[in-house]
Amino acid sequence: MNSRFFHYRKKITSMIMMSLTFAATLAAIVPLIFIFYYTISKGITYLNLDFFIAMPKPVGETGGGMANAIVGTLMLIGIGGAIGVPVGIMTGTYLSEFGNNKFGFMVRFLTDVLSGVPSIVVGVVAYTMVVLPMKHFSAIAGGIALGILMIPTITRTTEEMIKLVPHSLREAGLALGIPKWKTTLAIVIRSAWKGIATGVLLGLSRAAGETAPLLFTALGNRFWSTSIGQPIASLTVYIYDYAKSPFEDWNQQAWTAALVLILLISILSLVFRIITRSKYKTN
């Protein structure tokens, strides 16, 4: 009798605990639904053509858009990508091809650690390295900060993706007498290209969502600017400023900017997916 009781108790405990894990998963997803719900429902009210092509209005006037911030964000991730993508891909290639030694281990470890360094710290470094010598805030300083932030993601994805390429492919290239560098570039990296592009995309879209490293590097700009030597606007800094502002109209626009930012990141990923897919098919 007694043992049967324990048997049932054991089973019931198991069932309760298993359903609790399901409840935890649901609880984790609820905030996601809330955030998306509010961003879409509140953001959509100001989502019109003006938002994309008009400039921000001065304090007190309602309406206007964030054309400068959209262009600014694109420019910043462009500059960041120009730094982070080559460094990341080359370092990742080094790690997978030649990194089986102590130095490779150290670099791998440091990139992992770098990925945990808060983005605001990277902003401070970009400030001391670029803004202080130049004596003013600039798009290039913000872009450098974003570039540094992209490096770990791109490096590690590149390494992982190259490692996934079957060894036989490499050996086939070498057996044909193709030098190692050509084999790596034309065969290995090419077949890992789709995965590497995913890493690049991940790096770029994370950078697009960064605010902290831009606050005192790119600063922000209420006017149109595409000069890399001048302060530049970005969607994220606008969201921050407008969310804190006492004007309801600006608060509304912050939601719209958030929606546009999410759309931008989604479009970025879509475009990348299309590019990588067609490349893959021709292979």
Partner: protein, 313 residues
């Protein structure tokens, strides 16, 4: 075999040599970058380090007007907000990880994992925006009055229900670290060999008991995941700055405003007019850098060791 091929081809070929050195150059640059970051911040904060030294960390006055900079309340706010967020997020994350790795059928696991990872991909300024306009009003009108009504005899739940404050920061941080801890823990759980579960089940264990065995095998990896979450919480800037109330204050009450290292930097950096002020803020960034590096290094070692353990056997 691989080494032999390497020898034959790379030693003779100039192209290979150039290729290797070129990629090496980039790897070295990443290596140097991390060192340079620390060095730059040390230089930038030299003024403040020379003046305050270690008392920077234990002095509790942060007063830019008098040029006295003690970061104790800020460090306190950083640690308390991060630890409380972990206390909320950790059990939930482990639940999520167990569900995704052990319980969920494959058709459900993929979309759910995707959603959890999506949560990690939302820009933190959007969390902050949501915090200001949705979370904080809810805390002000519902959560804080309720807590002070039921638990007001405790010092943690006293004071005016203002909304902005430690409680809001803790809640938003726990939402933000949850996907990190749960997705890494899920991977760690999955790396535990199937045979462990099969052995437990064959001995008559229930599914929960077998999961507990897997959890025990994975504990160092989960600890690593937790540390990574802690590192993220300590360095999180935008969402915290937007909801924590931004006042350097040591108070037991969760309703009171607080400050974290990252939010001080975000808030005051552009306002820093004197060199000493700027230097103190850079020193704060240096402290943050060192703390997160230590936490991350430790966490990575734990996760690596965990993954390697099963690979070698």
């Amino acid at each position: 075999m691989k080494n032999k091929l390497k020898k034959i081809f790379s030693s003779r070929n100039l192209g290979d040599l150039i290729f290797e050195k070129l990629t090496l150059l980039f790897a070295v640059s990443v290596f140097l970058l991390v060192l340079l970051m620390g060095y730059e911040m040390y230089l930038g904060s030299k003024l403040s380090i020379d003046k305050f030294g270690w008392s920077f960390l234990v002095n509790s006055t942060w007063d830019p007007v008098q040029e006295i900079y003690g970061a104790l309340p800020i460090i306190y706010g950083t640690i308390v907000s991060s630890l409380l967020a972990l206390i909320i997020a950790l059990p939930l994350s482990i639940g999520v990880a167990i569900y995704l790795a052990e319980v969920a059928p494959p058709w459900l696991e993929k979309p759910l994992s995707f959603l959890v990872e999506l949560l990690a991909g939302i820009p933190s300024v959007i969390y902050g925006l949501w915090g200001i306009f949705v979370l904080v009003p809810w805390i002000r009108t519902d959560v804080e009055p309720y807590l002070s009504d039921k638990l007001g005899f405790l010092p943690f739940f006293r004071g005016a229900p203002y909304g902005f404050g430690l409680l809001a920061a803790v809640l938003i941080l726990s939402i933000m670290v949850l996907p990190i801890i749960s997705s890494i823990s899920r991977d760690v759980l999955k790396s535990v060999p199937r045979s462990q579960r099969e052995a437990a089940l064959a001995l008559g264990a229930t599914r929960w008991q077998s999961t507990m065995i897997v959890l025990r095998d994975a504990r160092s990896g989960i600890l690593g995941a937790t540390m990574l979450g802690l590192g993220r919480a300590i360095g999180e800037t935008m969402a915290v700055t937007m909801v924590i109330g931004n006042r350097a204050l040591i108070s037991p009450s969760l309703f009171d405003p607080s400050y974290t290292m990252a939010s001080v930097i975000a808030n005051e950096f552009t306002e820093a007019t004197s060199e000493m002020y700027l230097s103190a803020l850079i020193q704060l960034a240096l402290v943050l850098f060192v703390i997160t590096i230590i936490i991350n290094a430790f966490a990575r070692l734990l996760v690596w060791r965990m993954n390697r353990r099963w690979k070698t056997t």
